[in-house]
């Protein structure tokens, strides 16, 4: 049953990265779009994410609940030593979620929009930045359980070039996902061309920020090269991701939105796979080669069993409903367009 729970944990993180990520990306793209194109970008984005945007963020809650029920030691260690970036991420989540609702449900569209929109856009940037920082910090061996002063325990645990570069990389991935997703959401040829151009730019940014991660890892003595290129699965995953990126450039010219989305999803899955599989079952790498492991630090058998059953039963209810929700609104949009 422990493997069922681990699969759910990994899948929730992946889905949050994909769906929540595309959602964050919508705000990031809006932030980096000049004034005259902003409103059409926003409108297309809103139509795309409106019905499912709440559900997209549930994956984070599922992941966190799995962590604190099944792996309490891991949850409490991260909570203590990464307190500050977690608080920053939470502030981003609060600001973003409320600003999104406020700007779409305010009965009067006036100067208040000038308050909501920047909050929405900047928090869309800050939240994934800190998510990336937290993820990187949990494997960069900077958390020191024996630290005796405040900066060593609570600041240098997460503030380093590697963590920040992964944060930036996460932001660029979100922008990339959103820019691919938006291509299929419009039937105006001019808009499509505009969005395709945008997608090309974000792909370059992903590649540059990805390279920066490797440089930062080198500076901070994080053996990233060994993790990814030390074994065949990692090499294979990154190889496939690179190949599909080439394919994606070709497809961008053909403007095949569904295929583009699948490719984007595939690439992110491969990146997450390459980033996590080497350490498995370790999930947190601490200073002095101490680790927190999904197997060694799991809860008692009865807890894991009931958690596994709860997740299985839950997914029987959730997944069909979620697919139907996505299906029905995609279908209606397409029929209303023709």
């Amino acid at each position: 049953m422990i493997y069922v729970v681990i699969v759910f944990l990994w899948t929730s993180i992946l889905l949050y990265l994909l769906l929540g990520g595309a959602d964050f990306g919508a705000g990031i793209i809006e932030l980096f779009t000049s004034g005259k194109n902003r409103s059409r970008t926003r409108k297309t984005m809103y139509e795309a994410i409106g019905p499912i945007w709440e559900a997209n963020h549930m994956w984070l809650i599922i992941a966190i609940v799995i962590l604190f029920v099944g792996f309490p030691k891991i949850y409490s260690t991260i909570s203590v030593y990464l307190h500050i970036p977690l608080v920053c991420m939470l502030l981003g989540i609060i600001a973003r979620g409320t600003a999104f609702v406020f700007r779409n449900y305010d009965a009067v569209k006036d100067d208040m929009q000038k308050l909501y929109s920047p909050i929405f856009m900047y928090s869309s940037l800050i939240t994934p930045l800190f998510l990336g920082i937290i993820a990187a910090s949990s494997v960069s061996a900077k958390i020191d359980l024996k630290a005796s002063n405040f900066p060593d325990a609570y600041i240098w645990s997460w503030l380093n070039w590697f963590s920040v570069s992964v944060g930036v990389f996460t932001v660029s991935i979100c922008a990339f996902l959103a820019s691919i997703f938006i291509i299929g959401q419009t039937d105006q040829p001019a808009d499509t061309r505009y969005f395709v151009n945008k997608a090309r730019k974000t792909i370059f940014i992903v590649m540059i920020s990805g390279a920066l991660v490797f440089i930062a890892a080198y500076i901070e003595h994080v053996p990233l090269m060994d993790w990814i290129f030390g074994g065949y699965p990692g090499m294979l995953a990154i190889g496939l991701a690179s190949l599909s990126l080439l394919l994606m450039f070709y497809m961008l010219q053909k403007e095949k939105p569904v295929l583009l989305r699948l490719l984007a999803g595939f690439q992110i899955t491969m990146i997450l796979f390459a980033a996590t599989y080497t350490h498995f079952p370790n999930i947190v790498l601490l200073k002095n080669e101490a680790t927190l492991s999904l197997l060694a630090h799991q809860g008692q058998a009865k807890t894991i069993d009931s958690l596994g059953y709860a997740l299985l039963i839950g997914s029987i209810f959730i997944l069909p409903a979620l697919f139907y929700l996505i299906y029905i609104f995609q279908k209606k949009e397409n029929t209303s367009q023709t």
Partner: protein, 443 residues
Amino acid sequence: MDDLLAARLQMAFSLGFHIVFACIGMVMPFFMSVAHFYWLKTKNAVYKDVTKAWSKGVAIFFATGAVSGTVLSFELGLLWPGFMEHAGPIFGMPFSLEGTAFFIEAIALGFYLYGWNKLNPWFHWVTGVIVGISGLLSGILVVAANAWMNSPAGFDYINGQYLNIDPIKAMFNDAWFTQALHMSIAAFVSTGFAVAGVHALMILRRRNVAFHSKAFKIAAVFGAVAACLQPISGDISAKDVAIRQPAKLAAMEAHFHTERSAGLIIGGIPDTAGKKVDYALKIPGLLSFMATGDFNGEVKGLDQVPKSEQPPVAVTHYAFQIMVGLGMVMVGIALLYFIALWKKKHWQKAPWLLKLFVVATPMGFIALEAGWTVTEVGRQPWIIYGIMRTSDAVTPMPGVVYSFYLFTAVYISLTLIVSVLLYRQITMVGRLYDSSSDQHQLK
């Protein structure tokens, strides 16, 4: 301010904020579904307008409740890592189920809000009902987790270790039913009175009267029925607390000395040092009757509890008085409303009755917050009753006080923005929702 107090206050503010949004988010869908049902049955357009207006409210409150709930799931660990490390695997069951219920609520809300003219009308209606049911289920599950802190079950505590964990037994602990019942009804009372009060005010101002009258009636009936049920559930809770957590009951009542035929203390200023209550009204024997069902029953006082395990008396006592007092006022208003519904129909349009509802607008939520203060402060100094002290659970990180200031500022600004938003929704009813109004834009 020390870190423990800062952490407790931050948790209290976060929960106190979340609970208002969570309650409205789980109860308003029921109001909305009733209005929607009348629209489908009678084809009276006013009901459709009310449904649409309320669904906007649901969207705003649900989203705010969802983010504040996400924050709480992290705050549990950020502020109380010592607690979560041991409690997580034991009381996690309701949280994992709640994840499902909440997810379904989000999906159903997606269908509901964007489903107008896209779905089969009755399927559309059912998705609205599902929003309400899954919201209510989420609420019950989360309260079951809180009940476990008051009534720990499903593990053996041996030499400081938590062994033989049984998550199902932990979920169905002794307190889950009484607490979930009391809280669910409270959610209906507070939301019912808050919504009814707002619509009553608009009727008094002669704005879109047909629209607001229909809305008022639905909310007022829900609120009034729930208000009359709440004392019964309160009585069940009191008897339960008397057995499980005598220290909490003693603090609620500022009952310092164990005695038979104990009197019920109403109001007053507790004097913890002198172990007495000044300026209180005392009804002989009533506390014994309420706690044990017998006017001569023995009620344990704070003298039975070691000093180091006593909860703060004054806060618990005042909060309890506020909750019961406001609850009784709402029962009174509810009874008057029932008379208006069945006997004196002309009262329904009488300004004095509407004014009473306007005055009562915040009462339910004040009572609700006071009730949670009783539960949480009355459990102190324990975070897991009798097992773990709150002071042993708090994060080792210094400087929690800054995080407290930060979150307080965030919650205050959010409260202000939501208030502006609601004010605008309500004043714009004529233009946005009431299709019979002259100013309506969307005809």
